[in-house]
């Protein structure tokens, strides 16, 4: 027994395995890899054979197999139009998203801080909120002089409601004791706002931003598909998908889908990264 205890003592100081070792020895990682490979293989088989003993394979049989998708992708990435679509979609997403942040955060905070402001402006806000953002697309096209502006407006709306609701909820959930503690140390109204309410709301702001980012991508995509990509050449990833579909190039449609998936993932990773950088106190362990 004492021997075992001795050896234990020797290793009781921190001794971390390298990150690589940890990943390699992690069962979860391996299972994930296996699952995705199996998924891709089933898709490939289903799409290649189209029929099984004379019975047509449902759904998957009509979809191009992953091998063809990747070949197409290889040729697509060499076209500048594809990258232009990336750029245009990103531009639209971030334009609407940033405007929504700039207007939504102060609006949400004002709703949270001032009771009268909340009771007057929250009801109309709640009436408009349940209308899905895409339902605004035609109205927005009528209202705004250019397609680009109308896409920006709908994108803005998509993120705006989520952000406001999150900011409002977050700011109202701040423990009143923090405010009292600050007041007892002689904080002014502005200090309370700047030092307590704003940082206290940050987690909700980022939650709202992450959700809002997802919605913005949906909206931009839909707007691009509905409005036909605007007057510019290229026209964004949504238009890329739509025109590929119209031209019957299903491989390209799937390339577009995956591209948008990657784009959306990159954007939400950015939000998460900004979240961890700006909220060091939330980095536990």
């Amino acid at each position: 027994m004492s021997e075992a205890v001795q050896s234990v003592d020797a290793t009781s100081r921190p001794l971390r395995r390298s990150v690589f070792q940890q990943i390699i020895s992690n069962k979860t990682v391996w299972r994930g890899v296996i699952a995705i490979i199996a998924f891709a293989m089933l898709w490939e088989i289903g799409a290649q054979f189209k029929a099984w003993f004379g019975i047509e394979i449902w759904w998957v049989g009509k979809v191009p197999p992953p091998s063809e998708v990747f070949t197409t992708w290889y040729s697509v990435v060499q076209r500048p139009g594809y990258w232009e679509s990336w750029y245009l979609s990103f531009f639209r997403v971030f334009l609407g998203f940033i405007i929504a942040q700039i207007i939504g955060i102060p609006f949400g905070l004002a709703l949270a801080v001032n009771r009268y402001f909340r009771e007057i402006f929250f009801p109309p806000f709640e009436i408009l909120r349940p209308i899905p953002p895409l339902a605004w697309v035609p109205a927005s096209i009528i209202f705004w002089p250019t397609t680009e502006l109308s896409i920006a407006f709908v994108t803005f709306l998509g993120a705006f409601f989520t952000i406001v609701i999150n900011v409002l909820g977050g700011a109202r959930a701040i423990d009143i004791q923090y405010l009292r503690a600050a007041q007892s140390m002689g904080a002014s109204q502005w200090d309370l706002f700047r030092r307590i309410i704003l940082p206290g709301t940050l987690p909700s702001i980022f939650t709202g931003a992450a959700v809002g980012m997802g919605i913005t991508w949906e909206v931009v995509l839909a707007a691009e598909m509905i409005s036909g990509g605007g007057q510019q050449a290229g026209g964004g990833l949504g238009f890329f998908i739509w025109s590929s579909y119209m031209g019957g190039a299903m491989e390209q449609v799937i390339v577009g889908m995956i591209s948008i998936g990657i784009a959306g993932y990159l954007s939400s990773s950015l939000i998460r990264y900004l979240g961890t950088v700006s909220m060091p106190w939330r980095r536990l362990f």
Binding site: T28, R31, G32, V33, I34, A35, I36, F39, W59, V60, K62, V63, Y116, E119, I120, F121, F122, P123, P124, I127, L128, R129, P130, I131, P132, P133, L134, A135, W136, V137, P138, A139, I141, I142, F143, W144, P145, W217, E218, L221, A222, M225, I226, G238, I241, W242, S244, Y245, M250, V253, I254, G256, M257, I258, I260, G261, I262, G264, Y265, S268
Partner: protein, 296 residues
């Protein structure tokens, strides 16, 4: 033996807290005495008047292109609408009915698949390890990007639309259910183990009720995204429904009908999410009562 019981029988019901209808009256009475309802009406009136003045009053640029509130309301309640659709026309009802039916189907499928899927993923580590990566790979792809694929995979009008709404709800419901299982405090599992539960007891008495608050939060979001996707799908490739009504009126320059459809959509969407919330409260009395005591 119990002093409380004795006093209760002496003074009937005067000390009992109000319930049901009386509670509602009590709250309404208290509410009317604060400024809240008046400010609410003021807010809504302010918004409508601003809209009216910008639009039909001063006819500002940009605003003059969209229909004003008076025009919309007149058309809406007219028995003989100029653009063919109002509260009293068959076509309007059909559109609402078709959309609601689609939502009902999509939501039912998504819930009956998503909740068990999420529960199993939360319950079994192995199952989760194999399924979660696939879910996470597919999830970042916006639902709208599935439109062309849905059209070629499923023939007809109806199935692709329902597929899209179902898919959107399914992701949300599954993930929230999974989160719900993760959120259950370890000590409940331990307590269940101590008390001699078999795995099926743990599933029915701990996993399911413990995840319930998250499941219902998920279901509320899920109804929202189902409407979102449904509208998009109907706008792109529909033959009926509120989304189609918006797009069709836009194409035919019936802007008044378009605004009607938007507001209807907002109302119906709100109603469905209120129904989910109501169902959740009915199924989680334990939570409603505990939260009520905390003053929430």
């Amino acid at each position: 033996m119990n002093p409380n019981k004795a006093t209760k029988t002496e003074s009937p019901s005067s000390l009992e807290p109000p319930t049901g209808f009386w509670l509602f009256l009590y709250r309404a009475n208290k509410g009317v005495r604060t400024s809240t309802p008046y400010l609410m009406f003021f807010g809504i009136a302010l918004w409508l008047v601003t809209y009216y003045l910008f639009n039909e009053g001063w006819k500002l640029p940009l605003f003059n292109k969209i229909p004003g509130p008076v025009e919309v309301i007149t058309e809406w309640i007219s028995r003989d609408p100029i653009f063919g659709m109002s509260l009293f026309t068959e076509a309007y009802h059909t559109n609402i009915y078709v959309s609601c039916q689609r939502i009902l189907i999509a939501f039912s499928i998504a819930t009956s698949v998503g909740v068990p899927l999420g529960l199993f993923m939360g319950w079994s580590k192995t199952f989760r390890d194999y399924t979660f990566p696939i879910l996470e790979t597919l999830r970042p792809i916006p639902i709208l990007a599935w439109v062309p694929l849905a059209i070629i995979m499923f023939s007809g009008f109806e199935t692709p639309i329902i597929f899209l709404a179902t898919l959107a709800s399914l992701f949300v419901t599954t993930l929230n259910t999974l989160l719900g299982v993760d959120s259950i405090d370890e000590s409940y599992f331990r307590a269940a183990g101590c008390l001699g539960s078999k795995p099926r007891h743990v599933f029915w008495h701990v996993v399911l009720p413990g995840a319930m608050p998250f499941i219902f939060t998920g279901l509320q979001i899920s109804v929202g995204v189902a409407w979102f996707s449904l509208v998009a799908a109907e706008m792109i490739s529909g033959d009926f429904g509120l989304g189609y009504m918006i797009m069709d009126s836009y194409m035919q320059n019936k802007y008044v009908t378009m605004v009607m459809a938007m507001i209807t959509l907002g109302f119906v969407g709100w109603l469905t999410s209120a129904m989910v919330r109501f169902a959740g409260d009915r199924m989680m009395q334990w939570r409603v009562r505990a939260l009520a005591l905390e003053g929430r």
